[in-house]
């Protein structure tokens, strides 16, 4: 299929179909974040990066993981692409804005999903340039294990020892948390799951999940800044 045909077919999907795809891709990305967090927490072990590098090596060489990597990239691209398509339609649906703004009661984070999403996407690009490009050998590094594959523990240590980078990382991860807080519960609603008993639990869990991600990821730069610098 040509690229233009692919784009046209996405545009022709109904609004609800786009939301299902958005939600499914989002749920997949959110589940991956938990695995990513578990690996990142290995950085806190005082073992010279043995566990973290072993996990990075496993993620980079295991064929099952490599297979799922295709879905991961597809998930990110689809989520971003459909998110932009939906947002453009939303902007076009109200060509004239209200003078008096919108004072309706809504959840705070839900109103800024496209903006927090854009920030998260920029963060992904920075993150990919720092780690994934290095893994693929597209970016050279002096931090190597036995002069061969990159020593990601030392790469992470070098980055997190930089105060400016760490502050930027903490801010971006916190914005990711804002995005996830609404995204988690919104995905269930988009997939048609709304129940008087389970929905309050899903909303509470969404808050718990977003806090877990923010605290879990941010504890690492703080650890390197205050205990390893």
């Amino acid at each position: 299929m040509q690229k233009s045909d692919c784009m046209k077919s996405i545009l022709n999907y109904s609004s609800l179909s786009k939301k299902y795809i958005m939600a499914l891709a989002g749920v997949f990305l959110m589940s991956f974040l938990v695995i990513h967090l578990a690996i990142n927490l290995c950085l806190l072990r005082d073992d010279g990066g043995e566990w973290f590098n072993a996990a990075a090596h496993f993620m980079g060489t295991n064929y099952i993981i490599k297979f799922f990597e295709i879905f991961l990239f597809a998930g990110i691209i689809i989520h971003v692409l459909i998110g932009v398509v939906l947002q453009v339609k939303n902007w076009m649906s109200r060509p004239v804005a209200y003078k008096s703004g919108n004072k309706s009661t809504t959840s705070f984070f839900s109103k800024y999903m496209i903006y927090t999403g854009a920030v998260v996407f920029i963060f992904f690009i920075i993150h990919f340039m720092n780690f994934y490009f290095m893994k693929m050998g597209w970016v050279e590094t002096t931090f190597k294990i036995r002069g061969e594959e990159p020593n990601f523990y030392l790469v992470a240590q070098a980055l997190f020892s930089n105060t400016n980078y760490s502050i930027l990382y903490i801010v971006l991860i916190t914005i990711l948390g804002f995005h996830l807080n609404h995204a988690f519960q919104s995905a269930f609603q988009s997939l048609g799951i709304n129940h008087p008993t389970y929905t309050p639990f899903i909303k509470t869990f969404a808050t718990f999940y977003s806090i877990l991600i923010v605290v879990g990821f941010n504890i690492i730069p703080l650890f390197f800044l205050f205990f390893k610098a």
């Binding site: 109904s14 939301k19 339609k89 076009m92 804005a97 209200y98 004072k103 309706s104 809504t106 799951i193």
Partner: protein, 246 residues
């Protein structure tokens, strides 16, 4: 009460509109919002000026015709009421009130604050009905209906199609309206027969007419004068998914 009103004036659908400022004096706090506009219009007519066009019909909160966006909220600062049920005691003496029409690509302005909500009629015409052949009146209890489903269907059918959901939604989405209409039939045995075709046709028409997408901010539910629940949107999402995969 003495008030300053900033009101959107637009000569016709193609004209460039603008806000104009009016002063109204000695308004009773017990006066309804539309009565206050009637008083303003009478004073404008006395001055040989064009009165302000705004939609209204029953003035009892059931027809869904009134449609004003008042100080940043559809139907104004009160909850669960239409503009005709809004009273001036909800404002303070000396307040400035900004009055705008519903803003949506799918609801073009006819004149001033009056909008064309024909898009909702088109969505209903696409499938918001049940096809029944004529004949004798069936016995009311011949088809057993679960009590809970009957209540939920009744709640969904309370939608008066005023468009406050579209107005409040940051995406000008009609999802709550369509979901209420889909749900009221999907929950009942008479409506289940055409449920799949109905939801597909109504969603397709909604998309075609230029309404935005739902981003689950739930401003629609917060501003709905009939408190239609967003659980109806989830039900529509389920109905649409099932209709397309089965």
């Amino acid at each position: 009460m003495d008030l300053t009103l900033e009101i959107w004036r637009q000569e016709n659908p193609k004209a460039k509109g603008k806000f104009e400022t009016y002063k109204v004096q000695n308004i009773s706090p017990d006066c309804s919002f539309l009565e206050m506009l009637d008083i303003l219009n009478e004073s404008l007519i006395d001055k040989v000026q064009l009165p302000i066009n705004f939609d209204h019909d029953c003035r009892e909160g059931i027809c869904g015709m009134c449609s004003l966006y008042i100080n940043g909220r559809p139907h104004g600062p009160d909850n669960e009421v239409t503009t005709c049920q809004l009273h001036m005691r909800k404002f303070k003496d000396g307040d400035t009130i900004t009055i705008e029409p519903w803003r949506s690509k799918a609801f073009p302005i006819i004149k001033d604050l009056m909008i064309n909500r024909n898009a909702f009629d088109q969505i209903i015409q696409a499938g918001g009905y049940i096809s029944v052949t004529t004949g004798g009146v069936p016995d009311a209890n011949s088809i057993p209906i679960n009590r809970n489903d009957a209540e939920l269907a009744m709640d969904a059918s309370a939608c008066i199609g005023c468009g406050a959901c579209v107005s409040a939604c940051k995406n000008a989405s009609a999802m709550l309206f369509v979901a209420a209409k889909v749900s009221q039939f999907a929950l009942l045995p008479q409506g289940k027969i055409e449920a799949k075709d109905r939801v597909k046709a109504m969603v397709a028409k909604m998309d075609e007419l230029g309404f935005g997408n739902c981003s689950n901010t739930f401003a629609c539910e917060a501003e709905c004068p009939k408190k239609i629940s967003v659980s109806n949107i989830a039900r529509m999402n389920r109905e649409f998914l099932c209709a397309n995969i089965s």
